[in-house]
Amino acid sequence: MNNLLALIPALPLAGFLILSLTGRHLPKSIIAGIGAGSVSAAALITIFIGMQFLQSPPTGNAYTQTLWQWMQTENFSAGIDLRMDALTLVFVFIITFVGALIHIYSTAFMRHDRDYARFFASMNLFVCSMLLLVMADNLVLMYLGWEGVGLCSFLLIGFWYETPANVAAANKAFYITRIGDTAMAIGLFLLFRELGTLNIPEIMTQAPAHFQPGASNVTWIALLLLAGGMGKSAQLPLQTWLPDAMAGPSPVSALIHAATMVTAGVYLIARMHVVFQLSPVAMAATAAIGAITLFVAGCSAMAQTDIKRILAYSTISQIGYMFLALGVGAWSAGIFHFFTHAFFKALLFLAAGAVIESLHHEHNIFRMGGLKDRMPVVFWTFLAGAAALAALPLISAGFYSKDQILWYAWSAQNGNPMLWLVAIAGALITAFYTTRLMIVVFWGDMKTHIGERPGKAMTIPLMILAVLSIVAGFIEWPHNLVHLSLFSDLVQRYLPETLLQEGHPPEIIFQLVAAAVTLLGVYAGYVLYYKNTSILEQWKASPAMLSLRNFFYKGWGFDDLYDTVFVRPFYFLTRINKSDVFDLLNKGIATTSQRLNEWFSFSQNGSLRWYVVGVLIGIIFVLGLQIWG
């Protein structure tokens, strides 16, 4: 069983190697076979292992496999060691399973592309690194995966590298995440200095003994790790790269920038939960960042016109929910939301991709419309996804996960009403912009003529995901309704229980409020964009609303801010010093010696008389030394 672990990342890796080395000479069918096949095989193995795990839990609730000694010095050693426990299982399942679906979808979606092989090579490499990230037994190996997914995201965002904008977006993504990574690296150094190890289980066991709760060092560690997470998961203030990252192909957005990579931060925090629990400050920071992010991103999502940007901002905001959940100590709820979110957000991106492709790469939702009847499959699947995103009560997976978070935001150990308020506002906004998206894209009259419709290879994954984004929620019900909690039981083999605080209102009230707010949001969307759009016209007239809209549209102007504060000064600094100030020193020396040479040469003017004077000067000098020396 343990020996199978290595296969899971190894298969995509093999796929990557084959495709990158020989890919350019292979026919597309074989490329597709290798690319999608490797991931699917990995998915099957995962499911197999998962079955085993559920039926007969291994000792210590984890399978482990040691491949080889990576590096070892006197007091530090890191190995290429894999580990599969409950938390890992959830992530690996999502990565391989959703990944496989997306690969299958891509085989059709990318069929016209010149660099077919390069695409699948990069995708496979991504899956491999992502798997390493979540299966790593020590933080160094995890950092390897962490950087690896960064690389792949860079490669895939800039996949169509001939358009400068795409390359710029790719670079931006890499730079900003790199900032987070650097913070995380420092965190690792500090952690190592304190504990003398980077092996995750050892950290989990030693940390409580070594730090007393709230100690400054552990807070620093937690905050630095959090910063790393914020970078990868596009949380404020490092969120600006994700909307631009939509420059990549839609499957990439679905896999990397919705389902898996962007949730790496969530994984990191959950993985290091012991450290975080030791530092209330860090927990509070996590929750606060989550709350602010989900609100800010939600607002931005309302104003976008590019379908993928809308989804991107909604992703940021949903991950905000996850951070909020982790922050308040609702560990399983956070992971559960990741679980459902992976399905419906991947679905939404894939469906959006289908729409975009059949509308000749039209991204602007206001030039879409009326697709309801012409692309029924896409419509229904998209609807399912949208419902989940908006968290329609009871019938959507999103409800079950998000409702938990809302409830814990108030009532969990570190929760408080403020957080709940923000979260509920976020829910309202989410429902609103989801409805807006649905109505504008699928209702109304058609504005762009449809090209070729998506084929089976694209629709089937859509359907599977659609089903999942309905039913995935049913494995975990609110305690007061049905007593079914398969998911939390599973993940709480690794994560701690969610502790509630005393004296909070009964849960049912929260559920009703949440449901009501969601419906309200839906209704608002319905009114504004379908029933009587005149209101919008009035708003467009008023400058205040317009500027507010632009403010949201620009994502609260973070980009301009960073541009003025960091980018421009940096460029200026480098430009003025292009020719290295220190070089002036050498140039100075050179010119001085030239001058000296000229002066000395005057003495060599060929005049005999002057030469005698030279001798005279010499003798005067010598005698002078004797007299005054």
Partner: protein, 504 residues
């Protein structure tokens, strides 16, 4: 003796190349290749014999060869190799082979003299790595200068003369100051031992007042940091690197810079343990300055080889930080950095050379979108830019990670600043990639992708860097006894009097 043979083989090979060139141009290349390969094999055989055996710290010498040279001055022909030297030798001959290969078609004129110089440069370098007699060391230190000067001055680019002068004069200045220091140390030691000797082992135990020691140590250190190079003594590097022919840049970046680091590790630390501890803080500071300053300048450059040259300044900053952290882990990282930087930056210079062969320009403004026509080269370039920004699973990551984690224990603030270097390295690396290989194809004439020979070069470099990234342990095993031995003499416990600033 085998060490002496390595030197002799190279020298003989060089002379043969020069003489043969009159009759046959083709044979010359093969002779040169053969000579270097032979040495590579010899080095590997040493590794084979001694690599597995972890020798005890005190006498970590795997091979030791000594013969009288100038007895009147107590100068002996003393060569020895421990793990560190061996690693450096392996690197030297590996890159040496590649340098011969990559000048295969690039160099047209005066082939014989070219390979003569190439092989003599390698001679000097490998001599530096094995010389244990300080006079001999200085001797080789200078020997590697002159042929390199010719390589730059004769086969270099448009501005080659200026670059060659600068290179020679900078290094010569450092070298002569080191010579004075060597002499001073020599007399102090001989006054104590009663016997005149330039032998490393005899000079090791020398005791002197702090002030004297500081001056002498500075003499050594200056020579080495100029070679390294450390800001503000780095100005020779961009010119030399950008003007030199490809093989020249490869050797400069891959090997010559390493002689500086090697010198610090081999001589400065063991000979002057106390005073080095006193300057450690400043050295680390300048190292960090180098990291960031080099990165900023690299970002600004438009000449591809200049850009890569400045990245070397940045990377060598890590070496400086690591050495003066006085931690075994950091020291391991330093050695790794010497090797991996040699490989990765060398590879980048080779790529630059290939681009120049195809496009006849070094200006990245006139490149762009080359991936379309040269996907293989693009892929390799991607790999090595990633290496230079320290991506895991490539060797450079191991090096920088160990250096930073090691020095974090000894000086937090410096290390944090140095870690910021990772961000800057991402900036310049991606910019390089973007300007050269990505974006709209500037020229529509399709360029030939990697040839078989170039493929061979790049494949070997790639394999090396990936192997070092995924399984660096052999190298670390090789050097750990050396570092342990130094730990004894230098007593890394010095770092307990350093400022360990704990975070508030």
């Amino acid at each position: 003796m085998i060490l002496a043979w390595m030197i002799i083989i190279l020298m003989a090979g060089g002379l043969i190349c020069w003489l043969l060139a009159r009759w046959n141009k083709e044979v010359v290349k093969w002779v040169a290749l053969l000579a270097v390969l032979l040495d590579l094999i010899l080095a590997c055989s040493i590794w084979w014999q001694h690599g597995g055996v972890p020798t005890s710290g005190a006498n970590a010498w795997l091979i030791d060869y000594k013969a009288a040279w100038v007895p009147t001055y107590g100068i002996s022909f003393h060569m020895a190799a421990d793990g560190l030297s061996l690693v450096m030798l392996l690197l030297t001959y590996f890159l040496g082979t590649l340098s011969v290969l990559c000048s295969w078609n690039e160099v047209k004129g005066r082939i014989g003299f070219y390979y003569f110089n190439l092989l003599f440069t390698l001679t000097g370098i490998s001599g530096v790595f094995v010389a244990l007699d300080l006079f001999l060391f200085y001797f080789f230190w200078e020997v590697m200068l002159v042929p390199m000067f010719f390589l730059i001055a004769i086969w270099g680019d448009s501005n080659r003369r200026y670059a060659a002068y600068k290179f020679f004069i900078f290094t010569q200045a450092g070298g002569l100051l080191m010579l004075i220091s060597i002499l001073a140390l020599y007399f102090i030691a001989s006054a104590q031992n009663g016997a005149f000797s330039f032998d490393y082992t005899d000079l090791l135990g020398t005791t002197m007042q702090a002030s004297t020691a500081r001056w002498i140590m500075l003499g050594f250190l200056l020579a080495f940091v100029i070679k390294l190079p450390m800001v503000p003594f780095h100005n020779w590097l961009p010119d030399a690197h950008s003007e030199a022919p490809t093989a020249g840049s490869l050797i400069l970046a891959g090997l010559l810079l390493k002689t500086g680091a090697y010198g610090i590790i081999r001589f400065v630390l063991p000979l002057f343990p106390q005073v080095t501890a006193d300057v450690a803080w400043w050295a680390m500071l300048l190292g960090v300055v180098g990291i960031i300053y080099g990165a900023l300048l690299a970002f600004a450059q438009t000449d591809i080889k200049r850009l890569i040259a400045y990245t070397s300044v940045s990377h060598m900053g890590f070496v400086l930080v690591g050495i003066f952290a006085f931690r075994e882990m950091a020291m391991q990282g330093v050695v790794m950095q010497m090797v991996t930087h040699g490989i990765s930056t060398g590879a980048l210079f080779v790529l630059a050379g290939m681009l120049k062969e195809r496009l006849h320009t070094r200006d990245i403004g006139r490149m762009g979108g080359l991936w379309t026509s040269m996907p293989a080269m693009g892929g390799v370039a991607m790999l090595f830019t990633m290496a230079s920004l320290g991506l895991p699973f490539l060797g450079n990551f191991i090096a920088e990670f160990l250096i930073l984690m090691g020095s974090f224990g000894s000086n937090v603030v410096i290390t944090v600043l140095a870690t910021l270097g990772l961000v800057f390295s991402a900036l310049y690396s991606l910019r390089l990639l973007q300007k050269v290989f990505l974006g709209q194809p500037s020229s529509h004439i399709s360029l030939p992708d990697l040839s078989m020979r170039e493929m061979l070069i790049m494949a070997s470099l790639t394999i090396a860097i990936v192997l070092l990234g995924l399984y660096p342990q052999p190298v670390m095993n090789l050097v750990s006894p050396v570092i342990k031995g130094m730990e004894k003499s230098v007593s890394f416990e010095m770092n307990n009097h350093q400022s360990v600033i704990s975070i508030p």
